[in-house]
């Protein structure tokens, strides 16, 4: 069955007790490497994500871009961001970056979450949402420096990329990784991915004239379990607004220090939240049927 090494829990939101199994298993930190210099923006990763996760159809409209939609949605977790960048010499560089949950080492969403068990971080680095425990407060949305978690108004829950924890738990790579035609997506240990990324950046500097090529693994949030190779690591903003120095809002950082002693009590609050949620929102309703298509 599932591989305990790959899905060992490391942290649980607002959880007072011990974490089962922690310290018993060897740590394997996984990492997704996105080489934007070999990304062709084909969106295979988008489709592989939608297909594997059985997402319902997402309505889109043409918006003067190849980009599927402006930002990720509760049912669209993986989005290539397209940017036309005009260089100083007037030539155009067409930048494509796969946007998704970064699986931060220090996850702002998890810090912000008041519901026991709604967000977990596995020892392998995957940050996963458990909608069963989500109270729909959307604190995670504001806690994320990358604007990733998205609220579904119908289910009153928040969703995001799981890094295919179901696949990873069975020893498979995430669906997007497997699909990627050019291999600009790679998956493995954080250590290996860092080395591959650094050597690719060096190659870009030495052989392809990209003086500022580098790796994006921001230390302001303890590093991420999704890292990028960029043609120009000094300007991550060019790639669909990738923050140079991502920060968790200070209120959530302070919150943790402030409330840690009374975490137990707060978890009660979480339960109240669940109750409140049920009373105010009511039970979940089934999803609407997709529109019927005629022959």
């Amino acid at each position: 069955m599932s591989d305990r090494k790959t899905l060992q829990i490391k942290q649980i939101s607002a959880h007072p007790g011990p974490i089962p199994g922690l310290g018993v298993q060897r740590d394997l930190e996984v990492c997704k490497l996105v080489d934007t210099t070999t990304c062709i923006g084909c969106k295979a990763c988008e489709v592989a994500c939608v297909e594997w996760n059985d997402m319902p159809f997402a309505e889109t409209t043409f918006d003067n871009t190849y980009q599927t939609m402006p930002e990720t949605r509760w049912n669209f977790w993986n989005l290539i961001k397209f940017n036309e960048h005009q260089r100083e010499d007037g030539t155009i560089q067409w930048l494509m970056r796969k946007d998704q949950c970064m699986h931060c080492a220090d996850p702002g969403c998890l810090r912000a979450c008041p519901a026991d068990g709604a967000i977990v971080q596995y020892a392998n680095g995957i940050v996963d949402f458990n909608q069963e425990n989500c109270i729909g407060c959307e604190f995670c949305v504001s806690g994320c420096p990358y604007n990733i978690p998205k609220f579904n108004k119908e289910t009153k829950k928040v969703y995001k990329c799981t890094l295919c924890s179901d696949r990873v738990g069975q020893g498979l790579e995430p669906a997007c990784i497997k699909a990627c035609p050019t291999g600009c997506l790679k998956f493995g240990s954080k250590e290996d991915m860092k080395m591959i990324a650094e050597s690719r950046a060096a190659q870009l500097r030495e052989h392809f004239g990209y003086e500022n090529a580098g790796v994006y693994d921001p230390q302001s949030i303890g590093g991420t379990h999704v890292i990028y190779v960029l043609h120009d690591a000094t300007q991550p903003e060019l790639y669909g607004g990738l923050p140079k120095n991502p920060q968790i809002p200070w209120s959530y950082t302070v919150w943790k220090w402030l409330f840690k002693p009374v975490l137990g009590a707060f978890s009660m609050l979480g339960l109240v939240g669940v109750l409140l949620h049920y009373v105010t929102v009511g039970p979940r309703r089934p999803q609407p049927e997709p529109p019927k298509k005629e022959d």
């Binding site: 599932s2 084909c42 996760n53 996963d128 738990g169 498979l172 497997k178 035609p181």
Partner: protein
């Protein structure tokens, strides 16, 4: 849908949770049994029908090929053994599941009669018989045994055959055998355009 934190953690350890957009309503116990949606599906090695890279794909179908189970596709993924695509697929290959299981698929023979504004159903047998009669009539009406210079040409210029890009070699060979035997000259394929 009630569950304790304890069962949740257990579920996490055994099967992984937060499964998917579909998973939002699932109890952890269910999550365990659904740990991988393809774990008991039947695998069939095939080739992607789109471009000419001819990526190897694995089609996962419901059921274990037992006689009473009619297979249906549940997932399609790249074949990691294939030397060219090595498990990868493009955005079209990644959605092949929907090319197979699609509510727009044609399911029965139909005919549109002269002057009509709609399709009507027709049995296979009736369709075959009508088509055969039309083919014969067209051929007999337009077949040319000799040209104006008296040279043998044995050709039928009243009929055309156009073949598509996913017609297999074996089917295309059958096209040559049947259509050339009917004398068809206008024999073309996506390969031309």
């Amino acid at each position: 849908m009630e569950f304790s934190r304890r069962t949740f953690i257990k579920g996490t350890l055994v099967g992984g949770v937060g499964l998917s957009a579909l998973g939002f309503d699932l109890a952890p116990v269910y999550a365990q049994t659904q740990s991988l949606k393809i774990s008991r599906a039947t695998e069939t090695r095939s080739t992607c029908p789109y471009c000419s890279v001819s990526c190897g794909v694995i089609i996962y179908t419901l059921g274990d090929k037992a006689k009473n189970a009619i297979p249906q596709v549940v997932h399609v993924e790249g074949d990691p053994d294939h030397p060219i695509n090595r498990g990868t697929l493009c955005p079209k290959g990644s959605s092949l599941q929907q090319d197979i299981l699609n509510d727009r698929r044609l399911l029965k023979p139909q005919v549109r009669r002269p002057g009509s504004d709609h399709w009507q159903d027709i049995s296979w047998e009736d369709a075959y018989n009508e088509i055969a009669q039309r083919v014969k009539k067209t051929r007999d009406d337009t077949f040319l045994e000799r040209d104006s210079q008296g040279r043998t040409v044995n050709r039928c210029e009243g009929m055309a055959f156009t073949g598509g890009c996913t017609d297999t070699n074996e089917f295309n060979y059958l096209v040559v055998k049947t259509m050339r035997s009917l004398g068809v000259c206008y024999l073309e394929n996506q390969a031309r355009v």
